[in-house]
């Protein structure tokens, strides 16, 4: 039973073109990165999950931003000198879950449906696919989050007259900076989606990454854990986001533009891992 069929030697191949005799009349053109970008743009705009997640994101950001502005206007803020722009952070933090979901789905839905095999048959270069997905997803989420954050910031500064006025640097961080940070967080989700290859699993992991450090830190009462607690408090993702708005949850944490550097570094490592994994694992 172990002796395989003995194959007869094949007749020598007839001379001629290597790939058979058929030549397509359609002009040959080598596809490049631009073609992959166009393809990913078609993919991301032709599924409903994109519309849904981005729609919920906009509703959350604008709705919560408006709600806070109305509440602040109605109530006396007392003596606190919290910058006005910080109140946009709550909508963005909740909205980040939508961006995470979209980032994960951008790649894991291809694994879930088996589409990835069709995609990689049409383009054997894994790196090109991953890069095109990353660029398309990053630009979409960056534009939408930046636009939403700008709108909320304008609303809140207009409706809440008292408190310290934000500087131009504060403005830039609270709009473009926040857009970049959240889009990068989504890109990290995309990388995790490529590594995990399972939508629900990857989304759960990413929500854990966002929320768990802060929740854990709240329960670290003992003195021996105080160092770790302070670190988690300062560098958890919500803390980094609030730092971008010019406020700090705890004093030794990141300030100014530092948050962007941290998230970009983590995302770069994760994307590198995703690239290696895509290239070496069976699909």
């Amino acid at each position: 039973m172990t002796t395989p069929y003995q194959q007869q030697p094949h007749a020598p191949q007839a001379p001629g073109p290597q790939l058979g005799t058929y030549t397509s009349p359609i002009a040959q053109r080598r596809p490049g990165f631009g073609d992959a970008l166009a393809s990913e743009w078609t993919k991301i705009r032709s599924v409903r999950s994109t519309i849904w997640t981005l729609g919920v994101l906009v509703v959350l950001m604008l709705g919560l931003g408006l709600l806070f502005a109305v509440l602040l206007r109605a109530n006396d803020r007392g003596e606190t000198n919290t910058p006005v722009l910080v109140f946009g952070a709550f909508g963005v933090l909740l909205g980040s879950i939508c961006v995470i979901t979209l980032g994960v789905l951008t790649i894991s839905s291809e694994y879930g449906t088996g589409m990835i095999r069709t995609t990689l048959t049409a383009c054997p270069s894994r790196g090109r696919i991953l890069a095109a997905k990353s660029v398309v997803f990053f630009l979409i989420s960056f534009v939408i989050v930046t636009a939403g954050a700008t709108l909320v910031a304008i609303l809140q500064t207009a409706m809440v007259p008292d408190g310290p006025r934000p500087t131009s640097g504060d403005w830039l961080r609270a709009t473009v900076g926040v857009g970049f940070y959240i889009a990068m967080l989504g890109l990290l989700s995309l990388a995790v989606g490529a590594l995990i290859r399972h939508s629900a699993g990857a989304i759960t992991i990413m929500i854990g990454v966002v929320l768990l450090p802060l929740v854990l830190a709240m329960f670290m009462f003992t003195a021996s854990l105080s160092g770790l607690r302070d670190f988690l408090m300062a560098y958890s993702i919500p803390s980094q986001l609030i730092a971008l708005y010019g406020d700090q949850l705890s004093t030794p944490g990141p300030s100014g533009w530092e948050s962007l550097g941290i998230i970009t570094g983590i995302t770069a490592v994760a994307l590198g891992g995703a690239f290696v994994s895509l290239n070496s694992r069976d699909v």
């Binding site: 039973m1 172990t2 002796t3 395989p4 069929y5 194959q7 007869q8 094949h10 191949q13 290597q18 790939l19 058979g20 005799t21 058929y22 030549t23 397509s24 009349p25 359609i26 040959q28 053109r29 080598r30 596809p31 490049g32 073609d35 992959a36 166009a38 393809s39 990913e40 078609t42 993919k43 032709s46 599924v47 409903r48 999950s49 839905s109 291809e110 449906t113 088996g114 589409m115 095999r117 069709t118 995609t119 990689l120 048959t121 049409a122 383009c123 054997p124 270069s125 070496s280 069976d282 699909v283």
Partner: protein, 401 residues
Amino acid sequence: MIEAVGLTKRYGAKTAVHNLSFQVRPGTVTGFLGPNGSGKSTTMRMILGLDRPTSGHVTIGGHPFRGLPNAPRQVGALLDAKAVHGGRSARSHLLSLAQLAGIPARRVDEVLGVVGLQQVAKQRSKGFSLGMGQRLGIAAALLGDPQVLLFDEPVNGLDPEGILWVRNLMKQLAAEGRTVFVSSHLMSEMAVTAEHLIVIGRGQLLADMSVKDFISHNSADFARVRAPGTDPAQREKLTSALTEAGGQVLPEPDGALRVTGLPLPRISEVAHEADVRLWELSPHQASLEEAYMRMTQGAVDYRSTADQKAGLQPAVPPGYAPPPVIPDVPQQGWYAPPPPGQNPYAAGPPQAPVHPPLGSDAVRQPDPQAPARPAPRPPAAPPVPQAPDTPAAPTTPEDAR
């Protein structure tokens, strides 16, 4: 031209494909046959560079798939009809693939026309039937107008009109000088579509030859002989006479005899000498299905057993005898043995009857509930292995189709 050399794929301890070497040449439809789990899809995935072979390599036109210049214009594949995002419309799906491969967008409408999906091009593919999914997959394979085409089970779920269309499409593509590699379970379909066959079982090559050679190598033609049905003694007499004359005789359930090893005129003479009249003497040529079943019978991984329904049946009322059960699953060991040295698998499984043959007392005895039961295999009895060692009630392959 697809060329595999020593292709091996292991998943942990399980070897899916073992040392597979073959060539698929342009200009003909090459069929890829094998039982479920024999490694057909794994081989297809390795050809497309989706799975990495554990050892060996496979090339298309001299290049590994991932090293092909402009792969989507040279190779098209249908791997799985459901390998699409269900939320995307058929046209968007094809458009994204066309853009990825640098193919002009109007080609999308062309292939939608070729597969007949223009009407539903704007609908989301989630609502597609399996047949429509297959058409969409074929459209994706044809998108780049490639020289090499791979189809994994392309006719699954298609209606008769669709099957005919796929058959003609394959032939036409091959006639244009392309390499067409098609896997299928449907023997009857392969018999009329493919000219060349590659057969694997348990991940190893069983045959690589033309359909015509495959049938003649793996099937012994037989003669069906029928003695007058009124007299069992006549049949006994004829059986012994034919056996004496050097033929192999197998009884069929309806009373006919299947004779191999004797030409038709000789059978007639033997019957005449034995003074037995014949009601039927007909030649039978084996089909591709028969040849295939016999070749792969030792290499089948997933074999069905009889549904015993043990313990689920109500008690049989006294005096009630259920109707006799005649299994219509093809019985292993029924087909005549292949020519020696041709097929290492066919000789493997036990062929000799372990249980007493049909009609002997030993089978009837162990059923206290219905002593007079005529059924050869009482349903409440402990499970009797259906295959490979029961020669009871053999069925003609015609029934198995």
